[in-house]
């Protein structure tokens, strides 16, 4: 048996230079300090993304992306297909946990100022992955073609439509026409299973490559210590096994959520029915949705909603480009103001999300 394994390994090594990879892995180490726990959320996000890919492919075997059959096909998956209910429920729960984990990962990087030189591109690619993840959520939400998804998509695309100049073309592009119809479902399906995965895979590859090339960032406080006082652990097997342990726990959590709180399907979308009360977007869009509700209809000579959307766009851009304008951190000094601003953003998002759910 060992001989067979050995020969297989040798065969592969001759062609792929596996030994080099193992050597690299052996030498790779992860810093150990009191903030090390945040390193794991990148791995958890990756794990949840892998689950999304696997469960998504399984759902694709039965899902039909048309106005007439989408709802029925999901109904079929959860009632007739063996373990279909589990796959669909895990796909929905993992999507939400992925966004949550990605948010935690992003804020941990932000507060550790891990985006500082030389990791600016890692930060930008990570933010792009988060935006793409939210795009996955928005496009996937419509796919069951149920009442709630239909009207939430209508509201969501309406908001995009108010952007000056480009809003209307964006709305038409997203909807495939003036209204949310079967054409919208078709293209959302296309975005969800082809366009977004392709973009995501490329950017994820870049993100992971950068992490491997540059290694884990260490907090500025630890960076100041002499190398002899800095602790590390081998990536393989120590960190890898710890990552694996956390993934198992996340898998357990996913299973419990999927079984005890199966994702509801609701009623089939009826474009001619009045919008049901309490239409709300997914929780990760809630803080923006709620903010737009609080902004007055008219702000001086501008439309309130337009001002709100433009403010969010500017804030998102500033957030993405933070490594390039945070000169204090770049000089190796602690930027407390930015830390407080980040804390304000977190508290603001949490409060507005809660208010949105309570309203």
């Amino acid at each position: 048996m060992n001989r067979v394994l050995r020969r297989t390994y040798d065969w592969l090594d001759e062609r792929l230079q596996v030994s080099d990879l193992i050597e690299f892995m052996k030498k790779k180490s992860v810093p150990v300090h009191r903030h090390s726990v945040w390193y794991y959320f990148g791995g958890v996000s990756l794990f949840l993304f892998i689950i999304q890919v696997v469960t998504g492919i399984l759902l694709l075997l039965y899902y039909k992306g048309s106005e007439e059959l989408a709802f029925e096909s999901i109904q079929f998956i959860i009632s007739k297909v063996e373990f279909g209910w589990l796959i669909r429920s895990i796909h929905s729960w993992a999507a939400n946990l992925f966004i949550l984990s990605a948010f935690i990962h992003m804020f941990s990087v932000f507060f550790e100022k891990a985006y500082r030189k030389p990791r600016e591109l890692t930060w930008v690619s990570g933010i792009l992955l988060l935006f793409l993840g939210m795009g996955f959520g928005f496009s996937g939400y419509l796919l069951p073609w149920n009442e709630l998804a239909f009207f939430a998509t209508k509201v969501g695309t309406d908001i995009a439509g108010v952007i000056p100049i480009v809003g209307k073309p964006i709305l038409i592009f997203l909807r495939g026409g003036e209204d949310v119809t079967g054409a919208t479902l078709s293209r959302f399906f296309g975005f969800h299973v082809a366009v977004l995965p392709a973009l995501f895979t490329v950017i994820l590859g870049l993100h992971l490559l950068l992490v491997q090339r540059q290694g884990m960032s260490i907090p500025m406080s630890v960076e100041k210590l002499p190398p002899s006082e800095r602790k590390t652990m081998p990536f393989f097997p120590n960190f890898f096994l710890r990552d694996l342990l956390l993934w198992l726990l996340v898998l357990n959590l996913l299973a419990v959520l999927a079984v005890f709180f199966p994702w509801e399907l609701g009623a089939k979308a009826d474009p001619f029915a009045p919008a049901p009360a309490g239409i709300k977007p997914e929780w990760y869009f809630m803080f923006m949705f709620q903010t737009l509700k609080y902004i007055p209809g008219q702000l001086w000579i501008f439309e309130g909603e337009v001002v709100g959307i433009l403010l969010f766009a500017c804030a998102g851009l500033a957030w993405t480009l933070v490594p390039f304008w945070d000169r204090t951190t770049a000089r190796g000094q602690e930027n407390r103001k930015l830390t407080y601003a980040g804390l304000f953003v977190v508290v603001y998002m949490i409060i507005l999300t809660i208010l949105g759910w309570l309203s």
Binding site: W85, N238, L241, A255
Partner: protein
């Protein structure tokens, strides 16, 4: 002129000159017109207004004291000439809408006629558009107006049918206002019990105004109409629940009470369901008469068509006819028809079947009734049980929408079976019940399968969680072990 004659003439002139102050004024108009012998003054002689001392000028204006015709009818005197259309209503309303004036003439008549006429269907604009469809004189005439209690009045109970019929039996006239409205009301009325009594001079028998009202008549489709479906039972009850009024006819007076408690009455009066029958739907309206024994199933069959059809070819048809039993009524009653339950069927003491069928008498029917009841009870139980399992599976979050939808077929079968009872044929009954039983059984199996799946998921989750947790624990211990050995090596 001798002195004696001159004294009498002077006395007459004196009396005539002081009468106006007491309402018996000199009416030069009437005197002249009476001399001319025209029809208006001839009719006015018997007019109730003339008898009350109201002069021609009361309606036409002018100066009744002036002997000169031109002076009497001068515009300055307010002479109206012959009022037409709505002007007639205005003239009549001057007194008839004024309580004080009416009391001055000793009248206790209501003073709302004009306002009621305005709100009525007859108060709408006529085809010319310039006036209302009717005015007071259309029904009451003009110069020969007499009290409604006077048999000569066109609106006296004995005459009112003919008066209404002048327009309502005129197809050409009615077509201009409501082409879909029938014009055979009078004809039908004459065939009704009410019409027969009315023809004999019975003023208590219902005529047009008894049901439709007089000045306030509204279209039957108007929710305020006395003959609107939900108001009609109470309109009929005004007479038919009056024990004193009904005593001469020897008929019961509890029909309304019974109807109000019936399934039809509750639907119509409480739920305002206009699909439910009112009195006229079974008895007819203008041709109202109790349906005969032989025609009851036809009357009920206008709505319950399938039941009536099944009954007409059932063995009961012949038996009921032979014994002169009213068809539907024998089992379901008449005015107090309650919701038919399965209790009516079978051989228990409450069952209708057991009134005629027992193991010793009409035994075939006895066994059929017993079997049918057993089958429908089985179907009901199967449906209830299946619904219970479906509900439990739903509450546990399982997807059973297809089974739930299918369950409607079992309910449909039970409803069909209730209709099929009227065939009184076991074979036909089975044909409906057995598919229902199969559906209920299928739904129950599906729901049970969902419940099993629910348990499987819980057990599966427990096992999976246990395995993953054990694996995680083993991994944790392994990590500790390798880290311990790494630490030992470093030392």
């Amino acid at each position: 002129m001798n002195g004696k004659k001159a004294i009498v003439t002077l006395m007459v002139l004196f009396v005539v000159s002081i009468v106006p102050a007491f309402g018996q004024r000199k009416d030069q108009c009437y005197e002249c017109h009476a001399t001319l012998g025209d029809k208006a003054s001839e009719l006015f002689k018997g007019d109730v207004h003339h008898q009350k001392g109201i002069s021609c000028a009361g309606c036409h204006g002018g100066d009744p004291t002036a002997e000169d015709m031109e002076q009497a009818m001068a515009p300055a005197t307010g002479f109206l000439g012959v009022p037409k259309g709505d002007a007639i209503i205005k003239v009549c309303a001057r007194c008839h809408s004024d309580r004080e004036t009416m009391e001055k003439f000793g009248s206790e008549l209501p003073v709302t006629q004009a306002s009621m006429l305005e709100g009525s269907v007859h108060g709408k604009a006529s085809v010319t558009g310039g006036q209302r469809i009717l005015h007071c004189a259309t029904c009451h005439t003009s110069h020969g107006v007499v009290s409604v209690k006077n048999p000569k009045s066109p609106v006296h109970p004995r005459n009112v049918v003919g008066t209404c019929g002048q327009c309502h039996s005129n197809a050409n006239l009615m077509r201009q206002y409501n082409p879909s409205l029938a014009v055979d009301q009078v004809e039908k009325y004459r065939t009704s019990r009410h019409g027969q009594l009315n023809a004999r001079g019975d003023v208590n028998a219902a005529e047009c105004a008894s049901c439709h009202g007089s000045h306030e008549i509204r279209a039957a489709s108007d929710v305020k109409s006395t003959v609107y479906a939900t108001n009609l039972p109470l309109t009929c009850a005004r007479c038919h629940s009056d024990a004193v009024k009904m005593r001469p006819y020897g008929i019961p007076t509890n029909q309304f009470q019974l109807f109000a408690e019936s399934v039809h009455g509750k639907a119509l009066l409480e739920k305002k369901d206009l699909g439910a029958p009112a009195c006229n739907d079974c008895h007819g309206n203008h041709g109202a008469i109790p349906p005969g024994v032989e025609s009851i199933s036809k009357v009920c069959g206008t709505c319950h068509a399938l039941n009536a059809e099944l009954f007409s070819v059932s063995p009961h048809k012949k038996a009921f006819d032979a014994q002169k039993l009213p068809e539907c009524e024998t089992c379901h009653g008449n005015h107090k028809i309650v919701a038919a339950t399965d209790e009516l069927l079978g051989i228990s003491a409450e069952a209708t079947c057991s009134r005629c069928h027992s193991s010793g008498k009409n035994a075939v029917g006895f066994h059929v009734a017993q079997t049918m009841r057993g089958l429908i009870d089985s179907l009901e139980n199967a449906e209830r049980l299946a619904a219970m399992f479906v509900s439990e599976a739903e509450q546990k979050g399982m997807e059973v929408s297809e089974a739930k939808f299918k369950l409607r077929d079992a309910r449909q079968a039970r409803l069909q079976a209730r209709t099929m009872v009227h065939s009184f044929h076991e074979g036909q009954f089975r044909e409906v019940v057995e598919p229902g039983l199969k559906v209920a059984s299928f739904v129950q199996r599906e729901a049970e399968r969902a419940l099993e799946e629910y348990t499987f998921r819980r057990v599966g989750l427990g096992l999976a969680t246990l395995i993953i947790t054990l694996f995680a624990a083993a991994l944790y211990l392994y990590i500790r072990r390798i880290e311990q050995s790494q630490s030992d090596r470093r030392k």
